[in-house]
């Protein structure tokens, strides 16, 4: 048997890693994977083993990926942790790029208007009462926030909101909501503030400078200065 192996299996301290060859046909790969799994599951004991799948330079459609996962899951003590690939479709790449991009907009967001971006938002202008800004990532407002801001709109709890003047009717981060206090606030103390979510899932409003400590990852400067 001199045939090149299409599936190689390696034990690691966390479980097993499956390397799937990216040169053979998909059908061939599936067949061999099935064999390998049956063979090895005979010798395994009962405890659950997590499996990491590497597909190299092969692109799996989501239904193919599901098929592979299903194949592995059928062997009773295997759990698929994740499927990794070196390749992305253009769409996925575009989406990822957008989600990490910062979009800047110069505008007053007026009553009844909604602005939504997939990544971070830099708004140069005010959000008036009745206006809404939403971002998949963070929201930075150089101006007065008097309407609604929703950061981490698709479920990012780490997202933050900051504004030159923070007088929102409502702040939302991920799925937490906080509203303006009912009593009238001191006019001048609302400058340069930020909002973030703490461990108890509550939205905290504080001086802008605390972001350095609570969200150091916002910086994306490479290296240092």
């Amino acid at each position: 048997m001199n045939k090149r192996q299409n599936v190689t299996m390696k034990g690691t301290k966390d479980g097993i890693t499956l390397h799937l060859d990216d040169a053979c046909s998909y059908e061939e790969l599936k067949k061999e994977l099935n064999h390998k799994l049956i063979e090895s599951s005979k010798s395994q004991e009962d405890k659950l083993i997590s499996v990491l799948v590497h597909t190299g330079n092969r692109y799996l459609t989501s239904s193919q990926e599901e098929e592979i996962k299903e194949l592995i899951r059928q062997k009773k003590n295997l759990v698929v942790e994740s499927v990794l690939s070196n390749v992305l479709t253009k769409d996925e790449a575009e989406k990822q790029k957008q989600a990490n991009e910062i979009v800047s907009i110069t505008k007053i967001v007026r009553s009844g208007q909604v602005i939504e971006v997939p990544g971070d938002l830099l708004l140069i202008g005010d959000v008036n009462p009745g206006g809404t800004v939403r971002a998949g990532g963070n929201i930075f407002i150089m101006g007065e926030l008097k309407g609604i801001a929703h950061a981490g709109y698709y479920g990012n709890q780490e997202a933050v909101i900051s504004a030159s003047i923070m007088k929102p009717t409502q702040l939302r981060i991920c799925d937490s909501i906080t509203r303006a206090p009912d009593e009238k606030q001191d006019e001048n103390s609302r400058e340069m503030e930020c909002a973030y979510m703490n461990e108890e899932q509550q939205i905290i409003i504080d001086r802008l400078q605390v972001l350095v400590h609570v969200r150091p990852n916002i910086s994306n400067l490479q290296g240092g200065f």
Binding site: R110, S111, G112, G130, G131
Partner: protein, 267 residues
């Protein structure tokens, strides 16, 4: 070619019709040929404010539907020989009797004959609003200092900004009560202007004479001495390109200063 200016607000009852009538009157007093157009179909009242109701024969819908010529529908204001006309709204038709394209053709037609076409817009943001703005190239947003009116003005400005044929709107703050403003019971002029981020075209005091004039069918702008009249005349001059300083609105005689004076008088 004349200039078509739409007067709008979002919220109802803040003074669009009063502002339309008085800006039109004040422009005519300056010697301009003006046509007032009432687009509030079904709820017309610009004719009442102008005191021209009993001379209406045809209306805007008749013109658009070809039931009469423009000249037959225009009502001439005899007080301003040949300078001021009104194209009344239909009282009976449905709001959707006219569409924005038809309205644009009508306004373009009027532009040939008049220096200024002042379009009185109905409240709201529906078809009536779209009709009123479709033929305009300029817009005046009217608000009062009340939070609800300012909020709706903001909404309307957002919509006007999406109309490519309309220049950046200008702002009129109407029905100002200086004492309330001074006590910060309402937003002040700077707050409102900054909040809405518009150029301020004028401020008009809340004045009982305005209501009286309306009921007599004689726009307040015809009175040379009234405070609101002067405000409207100033607005007309600014529209004509003059730079006129903002009016000083005097306080009602209940200020602290007056109280102190009265206190000393008693002693």
């Amino acid at each position: 070619m004349g200039e078509a200016i739409v007067i709008t607000s979002g919220k109802g009852g803040v003074g669009k019709t009063t502002t339309s009538a008085n800006i039109g009157t004040a422009l005519a007093l300056q010697g301009k040929r003006v046509c007032l157009v009432d687009t509030d179909i079904g709820l017309r009242n610009l004719d009442v404010v102008m005191g021209l109701e009993n001379r209406i024969i045809y209306d805007l819908v008749d013109v658009v539907k070809g039931r009469c010529k423009m000249q037959q529908a225009l009502v001439k204001d005899k007080r301003f020989d040949d300078l001021l006309y009104l194209l009344p709204a239909a009282q009976t038709s449905d709001k959707n009797a006219v569409d924005p394209e038809e309205m644009k053709i009508l306004i373009d037609d009027l532009k040939q004959d008049f220096d200024y076409i002042i379009i009185d817009c109905p409240a709201g943001i529906e078809q009536g609003y779209r009709n009123a703005v479709s033929g305009a190239t300029k817009a005046i947003v009217v608000t009062t200092p009340e939070a609800t009116a300012v909020r709706d003005a903001d909404r309307i400005i957002g919509l006007l900004e999406q109309e490519d044929h309309i220049e950046r709107p200008r702002l009129v703050i109407n029905r100002i009560r200086p004492q309330l403003m001074k006590n910060r019971d309402t937003m002040d002029i700077d707050d409102i202007t900054r909040h809405l981020d518009l150029e301020l075209l004028g401020i008009v005091a809340d004045d009982d004479q305005v209501i009286r004039a309306t009921n007599q069918g004689e726009p307040i702008a015809m009175d040379p001495n009234n405070i609101a009249s002067i405000a409207y005349r100033n607005i007309a001059r600014r529209i004509l390109g003059e730079s006129v300083p903002l009016q000083q609105l005097q306080e009602e005689n209940t200020g602290v200063f007056t109280k102190i004076k009265n206190f000393f008088k008693v002693k």
